[in-house]
């Protein structure tokens, strides 16, 4: 188990933000940083995933591990994430169906695209395992599966030239924006909520920045000097969100996605804002940890076990929505569900680490799935 560090800390922070934002209408929603900027925790989460790939595929001295090891490592991670997505989707559908039965209320079955499953289980079941059928709020992991599955290509390319790989990644991003490429949803209409063609850039950015910041001290210095620029961008983001100023998608020139604040396509405004956030907050972890020791340890604990915590968080926030539906909103219910959620997420992180520590002998031979 690694000690607290900035990556895990911010990942834990993103996980909690996502958890709170996935209980729509709750009191704490307006206190998450997503309400005060153009980009939100999803960007942070994907970026940090890329950063972690950078760490995972090099050794302590920063030497890249063998290509085959990297491929296998990323494949095994893909399998883990895929498994998590299928399991939480099935559990979520069971929670929805169970709640509908318990409350004798078929409306519950319409919850965030679940109606499709119960109306047409035959196609939806296939869509579920193909990841093309996604419940609302259960759409980040499918993106993550695709990104990690193709990550080996980028990782190996970047061993030849990091800038070249980033450039290719950017070209794919730009082309998707212009030609509106996306993965289709099926069954049902429309496309993926998180477009992998666009969001791959963020993963790649995380991966490349990790490499540069490790190898090039001058790069770090320049990032530090650019902090005021980041702060300006963050302030602009706050003003735009608080006053709800955003471009009118019917008024902007073609190709429109370049000028809107669209989340699905990770529009440039979101990307720029996120880079501003990175610059503005790059040193915050170092400054605040001495003051918020226990909180930093808690968040880093969540971040270390992000997949399990994210999965539990998704299910708990769904449960919290049901509680809010049954008992209504209000500060008491919100404090209870969010408080319980935070405790449960912390427990999940602890439990995962306890489990991996406990059976010492089994740990030598990892499960075969």
């Amino acid at each position: 188990m690694r000690g607290p560090n900035a990556i895990d800390f911010w990942r834990g922070f993103a996980l909690i933000t996502i958890f709170v934002n996935h209980i729509p209408g709750n009191t704490f929603e307006r206190w998450t940083y997503s309400q005060y900027g153009i980009s939100d925790a999803a960007e942070l989460f994907v970026f940090l995933a890329g950063w972690s790939i950078g760490i995972a595929t090099t050794d302590r001295e920063g030497r890249p591990e063998s290509a085959l090891t990297s491929i296998l490592r990323l494949m095994s991670r893909t399998v883990e994430v895929y498994r998590a997505q299928v399991i939480i989707m099935v559990l979520a559908l069971a929670m929805i169906a169970g709640t509908a039965l318990l409350l004798d209320n078929p409306l519950i079955l319409e919850w965030h695209n679940a109606g499709g499953f119960f109306a047409d289980p035959i196609q939806s079941m296939v869509g579920l395992v193909l990841l093309t059928y996604q419940l609302g709020y259960f759409n980040i992991l499918p993106l993550y599966v695709v990104l990690i599955a193709v990550a080996p290509v980028f990782v190996l390319m970047s061993r030849v030239s990091r800038a070249g790989a980033l450039f290719l990644s950017f070209c794919l991003y730009a082309a998707s924006l212009i030609f509106e490429w996306n993965f289709p949803s099926w069954p049902g209409d429309g496309d993926w909520f998180f477009n992998p063609f666009c969001w791959q850039l963020l993963l790649m950015l995380g991966y490349c920045l990790q490499g540069w910041s490790r190898e090039r001290p001058r790069f770090r210095v320049w990032c530090f000097r650019a902090m005021p620029l980041g702060i300006v961008i963050v302030v602009v983001g706050i003003v735009l969100s608080v006053y709800e100023i955003r471009p009118d998608p019917l008024m902007v020139p073609e190709p429109r996605l370049i000028f809107t604040f669209d989340k699905t396509y990770l529009s440039p405004a979101r990307l720029i804002h996120f880079c501003g956030v990175l610059l503005a907050f790059q040193a915050v972890y170092r400054w605040v940890t001495p003051w918020i020791g226990p909180i930093a340890r808690f968040l880093a604990g969540l971040g270390r076990n992000s997949l399990a915590v994210f999965s539990m968080g998704s299910l708990i926030s769904l449960g919290a929505q049901f509680v809010r539906f049954q008992y209504g909103g209000g500060i008491f219910v919100d404090v209870s569900v969010v408080g319980f959620g935070l405790f449960a997420l912390g427990f999940t992180a602890w439990f995962v680490e306890w489990r991996s520590r406990k059976p010492k002998k089994a740990a030598v031979a990892p499960a075969v799935s």
Binding site: P106, L107, G115, G116, D189
Partner: protein, 306 residues
């Protein structure tokens, strides 16, 4: 958007021969010949046309298929649809964007968008209706309104048929925050000379006495009235239907009202079509900048077959 096949899937264009249609047939302008044809082919118990014409605001609307019959006053509130009229006048296809949270897109042939398209083409003979159907996840009060703007910009329809509010009602979002966000979005759509038809949340027995749920349904009505857009009162319609269905003997292993999907989807397309066609007959106040003064149409409520 998306891959080619997805595009094809979302944008079906089918033509229905008007005369083969049900008694649903409602003329828009000079289609009386066709309408007469329809009146003779009429399905089930379709009374003399004069009754149909008088029906909309009083008693059960007999132009709907039997299992979907609801009093007109319970079913919709009407308002002008300038952009659709304009498209009809230019004799170009009417592009309709259907958005909503429910299972509107599934089950290929019998799904709601297909039904809606068929019903509309039946009611508007010689008009090509192109439906683009998109899911809209999430709450209007937390960003779904913004996503809808992006979708509208992508599709650029003449008419948006929006099933709104169920997600917000289930999430118990603040009713005023919901109404504000809804108002903003509807205003925005209208500002681009695109018509909107709102469909209010679903009904089921267990929310009949739910104050906050009903409060949200009322908010949708308030916004529709204030913004002057047609509203399909699905909540009331479903309540009416479920009350009358109770007399029947139909059962389901989970109880009668566990058949929400079925009931909602079967009748919604008809109800929406009825609201749209009747709204098209609303007198034109020349207020719409896109519409040139039209040759006065005969009395708007004039029955189809006469």
């Amino acid at each position: 958007m998306a891959f080619p096949q997805a595009k094809e899937g979302g944008r079906r264009t089918c033509r229905v021969v008007g005369a083969a249609a049900l008694g649903l047939c409602l003329t828009v302008s000079a289609a009386s010949a066709l309408a007469e044809g329809a009146a003779t082919v009429v399905s089930p118990p379709h009374p003399p046309a004069s009754a149909t014409g008088a029906a909309p605001l009083e008693g059960v609307d007999l132009s709907l298929s039997p299992e979907c019959r609801v009093p007109g006053s319970k079913l919709y509130t009407l308002a002008r649809l300038a952009a659709v009229k304009h498209a009809l006048k230019e004799k170009r296809p009417v592009r309709v964007l259907s958005v909503g949270s429910s299972s509107s897109g599934l089950g290929a042939s019998a799904s709601y968008p297909v039904r809606l398209e068929n019903a509309l083409e039946r009611s508007l003979p010689n008009v090509d209706v192109q439906i683009d159907s998109r899911g809209l996840s999430g709450e209007v009060a937390s960003g779904a309104g913004d996503r809808l703007r992006t979708i509208v910009a992508d599709v650029e329809p003449d008419l948006v048929v929006w099933q709104v509010g169920t997600n917000d009602a289930l999430a118990r979002v603040d009713a005023d925050a919901f109404a504000d966000a809804l108002k903003d979005t509807v205003e925005w759509i209208k500002s681009h000379h695109i018509d909107v038809v709102l469909i209010d949340p679903l009904f089921t027995q267990s929310v009949a006495d739910d104050e906050s749920y009903n409060g949200l349904v009322h908010k949708v009505q308030d916004v529709a009235v204030a913004q002057g857009v047609p509203l399909v009162r699905r909540y009331e319609a479903m309540r009416f239907l479920s009350a009358s269905a109770d007399k029947g003997t139909e059962t389901h292993m989970l109880g009668r009202h566990f058949r929400l999907n079925d009931l909602g989807l079967r009748c919604m397309a008809e109800h929406v079509t009825r609201a749209i066609t009747l709204s098209l007959l609303q007198p034109d106040l020349a207020a719409a900048p896109t519409t040139e003064p039209q040759p006065k149409k005969a009395e708007p409520e004039k029955p189809a077959g006469q």
